[in-house]
């Protein structure tokens, strides 16, 4: 009985997945399937090609797609991807040669070792700035290479580890099978990239690449996601390395030096890191160059020199003319041809959803110092539920620091922050208009929309029923948030194509998509015109009516006067006044702070 139920459940899940695939199918997907099918047919065609060489290129291409995930999705310019290919290669070779593991098991072992190494490096890289990621990963490329060279007992010395011909599911690993495995691995890597990039986790990663602080402000666990995507990319590289050593018949440390890492990085930069197929296209360009040079009839030494020179020239030319790589530049060009001017979007707004348990926030004795500068000094804040509480004060008075402390982004040196109820739910927008320009409006909102399981890279890649259901819920939540700010019709428009006013509302939509109970707005009208201030005032009032508690840091007193229920005035990190707008404007200390003295 239980078995039947499980079968029905599985069948339903499969039908549902098929339906989703059908709905999400587009011309690009069709083109990709056609290209892969044609590629798989190559061995059957009467072509004079070296399947070994093509298989090696495909394995390299798959490794480059893995690197593309780390660079393009994760925003980490790794210059050491060859190290993970090497770890996979030698892990597989050692398990096969020393422990006599069957091919499949040795390959899985190699992938696991590479992925663990990737996770370890990614855990560190997730916290680092891009320039440091590049330096650290380059050092790792050298470390692995020198380590292999220093321990010939592990690497087989300069003769390498010799592998017997492998078998996969009983089939001899011939050149043809290697080629087909290469096509399959490249396709799998592309699929993983596409699925991941469309998932909430992928959107959060893309957002963090463009503006890490804003993504983290919306609750995206950037460091954890980056570690996961590093492990994933390293695992794909490891599998490519494992298959490549079976193809070569030998695992040779000299073949996995830092130059391999450089080659992979060049391929990704050339093809375009943000495009799933960018790495594959980059490897194809490099391979084509190599073949072209060979056709010139040069011997291999001269050919290698000419090839290196050509690659350098082409990379420089590519970087100079098409900054984002071949595929993204092609996409940009096509978009420009269609017209990429900022689009006006209708401002029809929906009612915000009711907040189930409006929250109040209490801060006591909040103190924060940055070196010798005291940003906050013994500040008390009482923010009532479902009200708009404004924090005002001159520049440098500590408003933004107070907001950061309330959000939990900055730990106070002293004092406590307490929120009513047990549910978390504080979200903060940043001072500047912090949208993610390359993402669509819906994707921007999706960064904040946390699915039930949170951002899980593994579940997203495997597209489990639960992950897909969560993703659907997240998209619905993101769309709802866009509707609330009047951007429902602009869901598919990229953020940088929206006018400035819409971008400011989009930032609020991203925050709303987190389903907060307390919304912290940091100068939402900065640079806004009159009509826009009116629009924002209406929006803030509606949000308050829905039960949302709003803390507003704002210089525009016109907006404050219109929406604030209560105001706290800060000067030099201290509270100088607290009350309603009428109470505050008559406060002498406030008048002195703003106008240099009381009005006559």
């Amino acid at each position: 009985m239980a078995g039947t139920a499980a079968l029905v459940q599985t069948r339903n899940a499969v039908v549902e997945a098929a339906h989703e695939a059908r709905v999400g199918w587009n011309r690009r997907a069709t083109a990709a399937v056609v290209v892969l099918a044609l590629a798989a047919l190559v061995p059957a065609l009467p072509l004079d090609v070296s399947l070994d060489g093509l298989a090696a290129d495909l394995y390299l291409g798959a490794a480059a797609v893995g690197l593309g995930m780390i660079v393009g999705l994760g925003g980490m310019p790794s210059l050491g991807h060859g190290a993970f290919v090497a770890i996979g290669a030698f892990g597989t070779a050692l398990l096969s040669d020393r422990l006599d593991w069957p091919t499949e098991a040795a390959l899985v072992g190699g992938v696991v070792v590479a992925a663990i190494a990737g996770a370890a490096v990614g855990t560190v890289a997730g916290f680092l700035r891009p320039a440091l990621v590049a330096v650290v990963s380059w050092l790792i490329a050298w470390l692995v290479f020198l380590g292999l060279a220093a321990f010939p007992s592990v690497s087989g010395g300069s003769q390498g580890l010799i592998l017997e011909e492998g078998t996969v599911v009983g089939l001899r690993l011939s050149a043809t099978l290697h080629y087909e495995l290469g096509v399959a691995l490249a396709a799998l890597a592309l699929l993983v990239f596409v699925v991941l990039s469309r998932s909430p986790a992928g959107v959060a990663l893309a957002a963090a690449r463009q503006n890490r602080a804003a993504a983290e402000g919306l609750g995206a666990p950037v460091a954890r996601l980056r570690a996961a995507v590093f492990a994933l990319g390293a695992g794909i590289g490891g599998l490519a390395g494992g298959l490549a050593v079976y193809l070569a018949g030998v695992a040779d440390a000299a073949a996995y030096g830092p130059l391999l890492s450089a080659k992979l990085f060049i391929a990704v930069v050339l093809g375009g890191a943000v495009a799933p197929a960018g790495g594959l296209v980059g490897v194809a360009v490099l391979a084509a160059l190599s073949r072209l040079v060979e056709l010139g009839g040069l011997d291999s030494v001269q050919a290698a020199r000419v090839e290196a020179l050509l690659v350098a020239v082409i990379v420089l030319a590519a970087l100079g003319t098409i900054e984002r790589g071949l595929l993204p530049s092609l996409t940009d060009w096509r978009r420009r041809r269609r017209g990429g001017e900022p689009r006006e979007v209708a401002a029809a707004r929906h009612e915000p959803p009711i907040v189930d348990a409006p929250a109040s926030v209490r801060g006591r004795g909040l103190t924060k110092r940055f070196g010798s500068v005291t940003a906050l000094e013994d500040v008390d804040l009482d923010i009532q539920a479902a009200t708009v509480h404004a924090l005002i004060g001159p520049n440098g008075s500590g408003k933004t620091t107070a907001l950061a402390v309330l959000a939990g982004a900055v730990a106070p040196d002293a004092g406590t922050v307490a929120m009513s109820g047990h549910e978390p739910g504080v979200v903060r927008t940043l001072q500047a208009t912090a949208v993610f320009p390359e993402l669509t409006a819906l994707e921007n909102a999706l960064v904040g929309a946390r699915p039930g399981l949170g951002h899980r890279v593994a579940r997203a890649v495997l597209a489990t029923p639960k992950a897909r259901a969560d993703a659907r819920a997240a998209r619905a939540g993101a769309q709802s948030a866009l509707d609330v700010v009047g951007l429902g019709a602009a869901a598919d428009v990229r953020a940088h194509e929206l006018p400035g006013s819409a971008q400011r509302r989009l930032m609020i939509a991203s925050a709303l998509a987190t389903r907060p109970r307390v919304l912290l707005l940091d100068e939402p009208t900065a640079g806004a015109g009159y009509s826009e201030v009116d629009l924002l005032a209406d929006l803030i009032r509606d949000l308050r009516s829905s039960g949302l508690t709003i803390v507003l840091v704002e210089h525009n007193l016109r907006l404050v006067r219109r929406v604030a229920d209560r105001i706290t005035v800060l000067e030099a990190g201290r509270v100088i006044a607290d009350g309603t707008i009428d109470e505050v404007v008559e406060n002498e200390a406030v008048l002195k702070a703003y106008l240099g003295g009381p009005r006559n």
Binding site: D52, G53, P152, G157, G160, A248, A254, A304
Partner: protein, 400 residues
């Protein structure tokens, strides 16, 4: 006969006149790793092909022309394997191989019935007529070199430090030395050197502290140069012995500022001249120099003469190509199993007058006993006097 052939080759018709279907021979060698080795092997093979083409290669009534294609193995087994794959894809008829990666590449070549001729590395396990029927060697093997070195050094009652680098060349030498010096009490240290190191002073110091009174370094040329530098700059004036890599011009180039440091360096190698006399080898040298010019080492003797490197290893590649051509003619086929079988039957007169050929149980084209010793003095080397075979050999002119 060889002299006549060479004379014909050099002074006779131009290769461009040779016509026929092209047959490609791959030279799989370290053109970028150790350029001298790669270049000398390739030139030997090209000269061999030149001689065969000028004489005319007729197999089964069809005329053929041998073409040589260079492929850089970068001293990397994986690159070497990739080159053999390329050779198979290019429908090559043979691979003249330096030896790197043969453990992995021989099977690929065997599947394609492609003969592999090793002309530099002497690793004991590289050649085995039974398990690797398509692999042949025309070069002194490590077994012969190591045993001859042991036979030469041990009676001198020296305390020996055995230094090997971690390159394939060094590690194969280590195996051979392990057998030749097995249980030998005069060996006071066995030390591994990193092939990529430019300074091996710590390892040399260890050898010295172990009480060594002689050093045997089995390593690539740069490591030997580094070892000599480390020993001599520390004032350690012990005799140093090496395998054939000790004659690599790179060592003399690196030590050109201290020619006295090189004096006394003794290396073992396959003898260049044969029992029939010096004439065949000198004719080969003339032919080689006519084609490529003398191999200038880039250093001078004390009296200002340019030092020339004899084309010793080129001779081996040269001979293999000619044995291959003879096998094709004997088999009546240019590729495949028939040629490999024929390689076990045919014999030619080698460039130095020795017989070159293989048989079903022996794929070594240079016999173990043909190892001699030479010692450097004033940037050139001469056979030593304290070894019976070496003392019987003539000096080969090395200056211009």
């Amino acid at each position: 006969m060889v002299a006549a052939l060479l004379a014909g080759g050099c002074g006779g018709s131009d290769e461009s006149e040779a016509t026929g279907k092209p047959l490609t021979i791959y030279v799989n060698a370290p053109f970028s790793g150790t350029p001298f080795v790669g270049e000398t092997i390739a030139r030997g093979a090209e000269l061999g092909a030149h001689i065969v083409n000028n004489r005319g290669l007729n197999v089964g009534g069809e005329a053929y022309v041998l073409k040589v294609k260079r492929a850089d193995n970068r001293l990397s087994p994986q690159s070497a394997v990739a080159n053999v794959r390329r050779a198979v894809d290019d429908d090559a008829v043979a691979v003249v191989d330096e030896g790197t990666g043969v453990d992995a590449s021989w099977r690929i070549a065997a599947d394609a019935k492609l003969p592999v001729g090793i002309t530099y590395q002497g690793g004991i396990g590289l050649v085995d007529p039974e398990s690797r029927p398509n692999v042949f060697r025309v070069a002194p093997n490590d077994h012969g070199l190591a045993f001859r070195l042991a036979e030469y050094i041990i009676p001198k009652r020296l305390k020996i430090a055995l230094l090997v680098d971690d390159s394939g060349y060094g590690q194969e030498g280590k195996k051979a030395l392990g057998q030749a010096f097995k249980g030998e009490e005069s060996v006071v240290a066995r030390i591994d050197l990193p092939a990529a190191a430019t300074d091996v002073a710590p390892q040399v110091l260890r050898a010295r502290r172990a009480g060594a009174t002689a050093v045997l370094v089995w390593a690539q040329a740069p490591v030997i140069a580094a070892t000599i530098t480390a020993a001599r700059s520390a004032g350690w004036d012990v005799p140093i012995y090496t395998p054939p890599s000790g004659a690599d011009p790179l060592i003399r180039q690196q030590l050109s500022g201290h020619p006295d440091w090189l004096d006394g360096l003794t290396f073992a190698s396959g003898r260049m001249t044969s029992e029939v006399g010096t004439s065949p080898f000198f004719t080969f040298v003339q032919s080689f120099e006519a084609a490529y010019g003398p191999q200038r080492v880039g250093v001078q003797t004390a009296d200002g003469s340019d030092v020339i490197q004899p084309p010793e290893y080129a001779m081996y590649a040269f001979d293999f190509v000619r044995v291959l051509a003879a096998a094709m003619e004997a088999a009546g086929a240019v590729r495949g199993e028939a040629v490999i079988r024929a390689l076990n039957r045919v014999t030619i007169a080698g460039a130095n007058g020795d017989e070159r050929g293989f048989n079903l149980v022996n794929h070594e084209g240079v016999i173990d006993d043909d190892v001699y010793f030479a010692r450097f003095r004033d940037m050139t080397f001469a056979p030593v006097e304290d070894d019976l075979l070496s003392a019987s050999l003539p000096n080969v002119e090395q200056t211009r």
